[in-house]
């Protein structure tokens, strides 16, 4: 089985870091995983994205995929850009604080969650990325909250370890967010 994810948003929203945490979680689950960023002359405030390919059968994953099983869009520009890339039957998970809840395609699943507002309520809007990662992980059902917490611990450098409890809290809020609002 192979599943691929695109995480996209503004430069500075932490999309590369969220992707790295997810990739780390898959590694801890003993799956093959490949992470790669959109690469070019990127800047803070511009759009940035990364792709994660998880695989439990092949030793080497292909890259530069035409479509994705899951897209996590943290801003409107990313939503618009990656909507056509979602596989038929795949998922578009979007940050409804910044993205209009419009469903242009009828062959995919949508989940809108106000992740930036939830992060604000937690007291730090910088937690948007990790909170939304919790939502994404829960919907995919491909890794556990416990593994993601260990992955966070792997990824945060020693001088940022003080932020681990807050990140774990954000992850939990996302992971336990009420999915009953999902309309398939």
């Amino acid at each position: 089985m192979e599943k691929n994810f695109i995480i996209a948003g503004f430069g500075g929203q932490g999309v590369l870091l969220a992707g790295e945490v997810l990739a780390n979680a898959f590694m801890l689950d003993n799956k093959n995983v490949t992470w790669y960023p959109s690469y070019g002359a990127e800047m803070r405030g511009g759009t940035v994205n990364c792709e994660i390919v998880m695989n439990d059968s092949e030793d080497v994953s292909s890259v530069n995929k035409a479509q994705a099983d899951y897209v996590l869009a943290l801003n409107q520009a990313s939503f618009d850009r990656f909507l056509p890339k979602v596989k038929s039957g795949g998922w578009m998970i979007a940050n409804s604080t910044l993205v209009d809840e419009v469903k242009k395609r009828s062959d995919i699943n949508y989940f809108f969650a106000p992740v930036t507002r939830l992060a604000d309520e937690l007291g730090n809007s910088k937690m948007t990325n990790i909170l939304s990662l919790g939502v994404l992980a829960k919907i995919s059902g491909l890794t556990s909250l416990d593994t993601l917490e260990k992955a966070l611990d792997n990824v945060l450098p020693p001088h940022r370890k003080n932020l681990l409890p807050l990140n774990c809290k954000a992850l939990k809020i996302g992971y336990e967010y009420d999915l009953s609002a999902v309309k398939v």
Binding site: A23, T34, W35, G40, E58, S62, V63, N64, A66
Partner: protein, 357 residues
């Protein structure tokens, strides 16, 4: 990032960090470099780690300086390296020719970006010719290793140090911007090769022995003839002993994809998909680009009906494939000039088209 020097545990890391970390484990004593995207993480890692381990790290004033510092360090028998990218590797060509002539075990990591000229920072394989043919003067050959995964970035960095010292020959690890920036789980383990004894030639100080000279100069035509014959006997030996490649499903294949580095990943997936559709497709991935697996490709040309070279350039490796195939069967090109490799879908499409002809 410098704390990732874990030998036993699996870690998720970027190709660039994997190369740098592996070089440290391989015993690299000196790193000289100048930053350039998309390989700057190598120098960043080295700037912390080498000082921590009391080894030499010099942030050189230019690439010209850094490669010549490597020559100097290697002439003392030290394990030394530099890393750079495309337009800056161009600056090093003179020194590579001297290193080949002086038989110095230098290791150069070249993480390709778009060219010619300043080009851009997107992934590319436009320096296949630069690495395998070389831009310096004279009849010399490099050893060129091409990783395709982050784990191979580790394994082939180890091999680069070993082969460079075993054969006293400049060795290039040729990666691309995609591999440099890509993260995958890797295991470093221990440096798997024996240490090479260099006591017979290294400039280690002439106390209690006659002084030695390493120089690139043969005063007479006869001397130079002898030297070149000796050098090329070495290249022949390297070709016989060290040529390496990965080969899948070639036995009964009508079409054989040939691809190295990051596009080889997509070629492999496309080949497997085509097999599911009943198309007889195989794949050969050169791991050493120099020496090139020409002999094996010539053998396969006896049974295959067509070869397709999959590259991120305007078609460079295809020339070596054609030389090996020697007109026996057609050799086609599926390329992307620069940027991400051709997608799996694109490769499948092309295989289908070529199967119909």
């Amino acid at each position: 990032m410098t704390e990732c020097l874990t030998k036993s545990k699996k870690v998720l890391t970027k190709g660039n960090y994997a190369i740098a970390n592996a070089a440290v484990i391989a015993g690299c004593e000196c790193y000289f470099g100048y930053p350039i995207t998309p390989q700057s993480e190598i120098g960043e890692f080295m700037s912390g780690k080498m000082q921590e381990l009391k080894r030499a790290y010099v942030s050189a004033e230019s690439e010209l300086a850094s490669i010549n510092m490597v020559l100097g360090a290697c002439s003392t028998g030290a394990k030394a390296m530099t890393s750079s990218s495309s337009c800056a590797v161009s600056l090093m060509q003179e020194a590579l020719s001297y290193a080949a002539s002086d038989e110095l075990p230098i290791v150069l990591v070249s993480v390709m970006r778009g060219g010619p000229g300043l080009g851009n920072i997107y992934p590319s394989q436009g320096d296949y010719n630069q690495a395998t043919i070389g831009g310096g003067d004279g009849d010399y050959k490099m050893i060129v290793l091409a990783p395709s995964t982050v784990q191979e970035c580790v394994d082939l960095t180890y091999r680069a140090f070993y082969l460079a010292h075993k054969y006293k020959n400049p060795t290039i690890l040729l990666a691309d911007g995609l591999l440099g920036q890509m993260m995958e789980p890797v295991e470093f383990g221990e440096y798997p090769y024996p240490e090479v004894d260099n006591s017979s030639w290294a400039l280690s100080g002439a106390k209690n022995r006659p002084a030695r000279v390493i120089r690139s100069y043969a005063p007479s035509a006869d001397d130079q003839c002898e030297f070149l014959k000796k050098l090329h006997a070495k290249y022949k030996l390297i070709e016989e002993k060290e040529t390496d490649w990965e080969e899948i499903n070639t036995e009964d294949a009508d079409i054989i994809l040939v691809s190295f580095g990051s596009p080889a990943r997509n070629a492999k997936s496309a080949m497997k998909e085509c097999r599911k559709m009943g198309l007889k497709v195989g794949m050969l991935r050169p791991i050493t680009l120099s020496p090139f697996p020409s002999k094996r490709i010539a053998e396969l040309a006896q049974t295959a009906k067509k070869f397709i070279s999959v590259e991120i350039n305007m078609g460079q490796m295809i020339r070596d494939i054609k030389l090996a195939v020697n007109g026996k069967v057609p050799v086609e090109l599926l390329n992307r000039p620069v940027g991400n490799p051709p997608s799996v879908e694109e490769i499948i499409e092309r295989i289908k088209k070529e199967s119909e002809v």
